[in-house]
Amino acid sequence: MKAVKVENLYKSYGSVQALNDLSFQVEAGQIYGIIGPDGAGKTSLFRILTTLLLADKGTASVDGFDVVKDYKEIRRRIGYMPGRFSLYQDLSVEENLQFFASVFNTTIRENYHLIKDIYVQIEPFKDRKAGKLSGGMKQKLALCCALIHKPSVLFLDEPTTGVDPVSRKEFWEMLRKLKEQEITMLVSTPYMDEASLCDKIALIQQGRFLQEATPRQIIDQFEETLWAVQSNNMHMLIAHLRSHPQVTSCFAFGEVHHVTVQDTLPMDEMKQYLHNLGHTQIRIESIRPVIEDCYMVLAQKQTS
């Protein structure tokens, strides 16, 4: 049985089409990533799947239960960590956890093994009010609260947004450990580098999936040769590369620029072109694309 099944889902707010004919399935036990920027429709999708919002059209089920008809059953089974911090600010860390356990008719002790690794990190502050915690701690507490009733499917809506790179890595390590407990996870994120940590991903833009596959498949489907180009003047380099008639795309990518060109352009010629424009220390090498490269190409194809 599929953990999540979505068929031809639509949702609009006035003239804004938030979700535009989405269909996908999530296998039980997988980490499934929904990857795209703010405003792409991620939260609308999560709210429909967690039975908090009704779709305009289409069907969706979680654990075989329909999100409309069987909403009560779904609410018992799932865990949901919304994007905005949603715990009770005036309750302590421990009180929040107890509250969520009691709402789901369980106790902290019963499922402590699930949250132990995470909870020990915030336990020294268990008497502190949730509102007084730092961002990283709030996030850990929210995850504990979403897990305490041993959900079969966990929905994590942008759990790492605004979080620094170290805490992001730690958070994903926690998710990997949870996977061993056979919990299915749907995670949304605007950070493209998190894609590789998912079993399967969907790249979303303006309510539509640009592509849906494993991260490796998406990268393998990148059709062109991707070049990493460097010189002594990176800022001028981007303008010069873009003004070359045979350059098809050029994006800054940290310390290099990622460039695609028409097949007919040999790199020796490119080097000479840049050299003539005054660049020195020119380095060009072919590289394997990352998900962000794929996203940009697909996004531009859809827009144009």
Binding site: G135, G136, T161, R168, E255, A299
Partner: protein, 247 residues
Amino acid sequence: MSQPVIQTEQLTKRFGAFTAVDRISFQVDKGEIFGFLGANGAGKTTAMRMLCGLSKPTSGKGTVAGYNIASQSESVKRSIGYMSQKFSLYEDLKVWENIRLFAGIYGMEERLIAPKTDELLTRLGFADERNTLVKALPLGWKQKLSFSVSIFHEPRIVFLDEPTGGVDPVTRRQFWELIYDAADRGITVFVTTHYMDEAEYCNRVSIMVDGRIEALDTPGNLKQQFGAHSMDEVFLQLARKATRKAD
């Protein structure tokens, strides 16, 4: 040589027994793009609030645009621009109304505002959106407009607090083009980000750990110093040393 646009000496902020910012000393030059990095809770926001004249230092001193941040905070506020992902524009005002409002707040002369608004909207390709409510704009447009508004009054320096969070990859890169343009015009840019590829676009980068600046140099030199291939690695090496991360 011209005076640095930002200069701090042993700048410190304590809240009770907790030292949020611990004796930081650094300077930023005119037209520089300065990346201000650190883990959540390292003290970035507190430091930035002091530099913007919003919070008084406990000890140490600092000047921004030549004004003392403790005793001349009102002059500091008039010399800077500020933009963050969380606070940018008023959603229920039209594009031109937002520009008009912020230009007024920043004390621009009345007669300069209208022609400059036209020029800005044309340059951004937003001329048709003049009468659009800001809430109807896509996020990426909002961020670009918000940045342009923050430097509309030609401040000496602009503070950008995670300006590209959640923005799509193409717009994120266009945003950096705007940052470069501003720096080329002589505006100093002080920027925080959690995207480590963006750290590479800065002239110099500082990394804060537990309230202190643990590293400050060009991205190239930092990578060399830490034997790292990317700024991401440099950041991880430093931030993992933090002891007060748990708080």
